[in-house]
Amino acid sequence: MTWLDQIITMLEWPLMQRALLAALLVGAAAPVVGTFLVQRRLALMGDGIGHVALTGVALGWLVGNWANLAQHDTLAVPGAVVAAIVGSVVIELVRERGRTSGDLALAIMFYGGIAGGVLLIKVAGGTNANLMAYLFGSISTVSGGDLWWTAALAVVVLGAGVGLRTALFSVSYDEEFARGSGLPVRFLNMLIATVAALTVTIAMRVVGLLLVSALMIVPVAIAQVFARSFGRTMALASAIGVAVSVVGLSVTYWQDYPPGATIVVLAILVYAIAVTLRPLIHRPTPHRDPHPDVPDDVLLATSARD
């Protein structure tokens, strides 16, 4: 069987079709949000939301148990969405207050998120093993319904991130100026936070909560090695996100590797290669005097003492 046949066989498998489609959507959407987060110096925000979302997953189980739902985890994803949005809004409020205490408040929230999740899942009658699928991803269990959810949320994320990119750029780049222009700064900040939370929950199935942030941030890190504008960085990061997600997932079709970790390791490898190749790709600028040619505004004292 040639490699082309193998790829065709892979694409004919419905489970793989769903997984690839989910990876494609998440790979495209996550770096778009990541670009804003990196620009706001909140590269680790996705991580924090992921931690908090774990409590949401466990809370979903608990509620599902109380309601005697047939499937324990029916409410896990809705729980994660709610917890992620609440968490991201709280992070945004802490950031808005500024000052050093915010750093500590965030750390406490992150650890509280993980501990709360582990504790609640036990209370709900589950075990830590139940959390593993959420912590490290379980793309092979993506069902048709999951795919619809992922697609709908990805459209919301891409719509907000791309459609309002100038406004979100303005508020991320220079918040004071945006405020002085009468822009609804708070609404836009909350929009970025909410969209980041939605991204975390859709990426949860693909790479897992612990690695969500990598899919948002690493493609941006790769893109900014080459791009020289915000728009290019975002477009390139999104393309890289799609490429590493689809290629990484495909690798796991032949090798029994965990998909989430494969995708993230692949992305980091690409970053390492990009940084190594950077001097070769960036042609040195032609040698000329970089100083502007302006008349001197400084009088040089040529004879100080005679």
Partner: protein, 272 residues
Amino acid sequence: MSAAQPTPAAPAPADGPAVLEAEGLGVALGGQQILSGIDFTVRPGEVVALLGANGSGKSTLVRALLGIVPTDAGTVRLFGRPLGNGVPWNRVGYVPQRLPAATGVPANALEVVTSGLLTGRRLRPPRDARDRARAALEQVGLADKARRPVHELSGGQQQRVLIARALVRDPDLLVLDEPTSGIDIPTQQTFVDTVQRLHADGATILVILHELGPFTPLIQRALVLRHGRLVHDGAPPHARDEHAEPGHQHTHPHADPEPPGAGPTITIEVTP
């Protein structure tokens, strides 16, 4: 033009509704009263300098006037409307002192200037955004740098990008925060010429300055802040006559103060 010439044909301040009104304005930040009891009005077409020592509250006042920092007393009206959604924000252009610190994501000059087109409830740039941003960059002489990342530009060029970002919306009120600090003299002059042109077109200007410098011929009125209070509102202060003479050597006739005697000292002799 040189700084010593009088202003040619600047429109006189017109009567009519005030562009900017502050009434009993007070600002407290971090539990400290930064500004209190600020009252003044700026009429259409005026060029007003806001002067004062470092830390006297100049930047805070300007930021409070634009709603960037919250006020804790008094009211501000822009074009007759209290701060908020009712203000015609597209008529106000703000030029902060410097660019925000660089982040991991580069942004080019065109993108930064385009962001100036979003005001109030307008969250998407208009169709002709690109052309307008280019035209604004051309006005400040940076057309050839439109695609350069702003953090690669020199300090003076960055300042010009910030001015272009305010000019791109054709403001009727331009608020500048020390536009010429740290800028070489020829570039300062291009700023003055730009402000002059806007003023000739009828714009109102409020500019924070450390010293009047090249702006001297433009300034019609000065506000002076000291310890967070307005201590002067009227004619701009004049330099002492002999300082204004052409060819005046601005060296100090008096001896330098004695250096503090205590502690070890190092003497370096510099020979030309």
